[in-house]
Symmetry: C2
Subunit: 357 residues, 2 copies
């Protein structure tokens, strides 16, 4: 039976990094007879330019029909002045919510070959390997009511609603505990329970759920302290679970600790492990089209996809090993090059991985 | 005319660090005839234990009558299970909102003597000197409606409201632009305008206000990117302005970049420069009562108080110079000691500063 993969290159460096990922997937598909069927569609700014909206009906239908989705990146300055309702981000947010991809796994791993790329002192980050489990379809990103209204005194007021129900918290909590069980059985839940009622409920539900996972050492931390601890001593963490907005901030901070955000993949999963996979970095409009982007995060996202959604573990491992090989061989795109490293282009890095395969 | 200062030691390490600050203020008061009148009151957990609530009417009345307030720290595990409405934090939040202390200035400065204490590589942080201007009486901290309700299907739902009006944004924006004018005329406003309507309004109002400050170079950054950039290259910033919740997270991250959060003061100002001054660090219950805490952040907060609210610039400078002297002399509390540094206690550090004066 064939497996449908929807490829969504998006904007900025999206298309160029995706080109490398598609080449690798096509190669593996033929070499190992994986039965993958690749399709491609428009999303984000590219879709706005072509169809007027960031998430065309056709794209959404194809995403629903697909077994898994590989996503590049979206957004850029040319669309920043658009109304929020039709901006590129709405394409991404629309996919997340329509496909109910509530579980976002964002690993922050330091590759031993790249320890120099981190801003942090080597002993604080060497061996770093943490996962942030971010709730992705709720919280303040999707809460109603929201908008900008005019008050009686004539001035405008902007408002958003940060909201979580018990079942939403339980669902992401379960994914986090399961993730912790497969790793070092250590979970830190991040909230602001000393100020926000919504996260008071969050803490209560996660604590209750913890009783079902007695082997997991559960702790709680306020978000401001978590931001500090990530900088002070990131290796104290193993799995972190948090809501959509805090997860957005902390997962980017954690990724940056490694100094190689161009290396980090992510998975966004629904209840049945159907998923969308994307690099942690954004569309980087400033370097788009110049062949400077690092395609490895997208390749590693493809590996995650093969493993989590398509049950093709062996193929996932092949990609991950090939990435390791090219790092060992010294291939570095600009973002991960330090000192006297020889820099390669996006396409050269892609070719090196194909070679290693 | 005498100037009334209200001393609020609070919980945890609050009392021991405050003791040092009071000794220094008393000394300067006599030596330089400053006309300060120090009073003391209960707040936070200490007030809960004594009166049942975190902000006794008497404390609030004294705070309103005072010319300035010096605040230690609040909170601890023994009060964490209390109802949110009567927890220690409400004492702090109640003071901020009742006194309309909307403007929170949080400097993150790296002391050249302490560059080794930072987690970051020295070249990334040496000379770091940034200020975060955080809105302190609005946003999701105070937004209504808020609470935990039961839905029709029987499950509970927590909710908070993130809300800002144009006038609130303008007020904090003006403080930020004025702060930038006194420094390097560079201001970065942090929001999540690609997702949250309330921060779309924030960006619009700040941009408009920028027209009144043509000399200030204004930029905008999404909060997730700001968290990354603080880690990647913090010296790109000079003044950052943001809302209450993002400010809570980013100011703690920025403080931790210096590696010496025990050194960092803060000011919370109202429209007329009346203010409350407090160290950036919290109540650190784990080390309370052990003489390990660093009193310098509180001493530097006292210096900020003398400068901003009491117009006693010379006295402020004396404290700051004395702090510099003790650092030069090699005095280090545990939090800022590295390598073979000889560690001193809270009281020894306080005595060293008095000596330097
Ligand atoms: C592009 C933006 C809407 C998105 C988010 O905030 O979730 C991005 O920052 C991310 O983390 O995937
Ligand atoms: C104690 C807490 C309520 C407070 C806050 O969140 O504002 C603290 O973290 C701070 O930053 O002053």
């Amino acid at each position: 039976m064939s497996k449908k993969i929807l490829i969504l290159p998006g904007d900025g460096i999206g298309p160029e990094i995706m080109e490398q990922a598609v080449a690798v997937l096509n190669y593996l598909n033929q070499a190992d007879n994986l039965g993958l069927e690749l399709e491609q569609a428009l999303v984000g700014g590219a879709a706005i330019d072509a169809t007027g909206g960031p998430l065309p009906t056709e794209t959404l239908a194809m995403a629903k029909a697909a077994d898994a989705i590989l996503f590049g990146a979206i957004g850029g300055p040319q669309w920043e002045s658009l109304d929020m309702a039709i901006r590129p981000e709405k394409g991404l947010l629309g996919l997340r919510s329509n496909l109910e991809l509530f579980g976002n796994l964002r690993p922050a791993i330091l590759y031993p070959q790249l320890v120099e790329a981190s801003s942090l002192k080597p002993d604080l980050v060497s061996g770093l390997d943490i996962v942030i489990v971010r709730e992705l379809t709720g919280g303040i990103y999707f809460g109603q009511p929201r908008g900008i209204r005019t008050l009686e005194n004539g001035e405008r007021q902007g408002f958003n609603t940060y909201v979580y129900s018990e079942s939403e918290i339980k669902r992401i909590g379960r994914l986090a505990f399961e993730t912790a069980m497969k790793r070092n059985k250590k979970l830190c839940s991040v909230d602001k329970a000393n100020v926000l009622e919504v996260t008071e409920l969050w803490r209560e539900v996660i604590t209750d759920l913890g009783k079902e996972y007695p082997e997991v050492e559960l702790s709680h931390m306020y978000v401001d302290n978590a931001a500090m601890q990530l900088i002070r001593a990131p290796k104290q963490f193993d799995v972190i679970v948090t809501g959509n907005m805090f997860g957005d901030i902390l997962s980017d901070a954690a990724a940056m600790l490694t100094g190689s955000i161009g290396m980090l993949p992510s998975a966004s999963l629904d209840q049945n492990s159907k998923g969308m996979y994307e690099p942690c970095h954004g569309s980087a409009p400033d370097i788009a089209g110049k062949g400077l982007a690092n395609p490895l995060a997208t390749l590693l996202s493809a590996a995650m996809m093969l493993r989590y959604s398509l049950n093709l573990d062996a193929a996932a491992v092949r990609i991950e090993q090939a990435v390791n090989t090219v790092l060992e061989q010294g291939y570095r795109t600009a973002d991960i090059a330090t000192g006297t490293d020889q820099k390669v282009s996006t396409a050269e890095m892609g070719a090196a991985v194909l070679n290693a395969l």
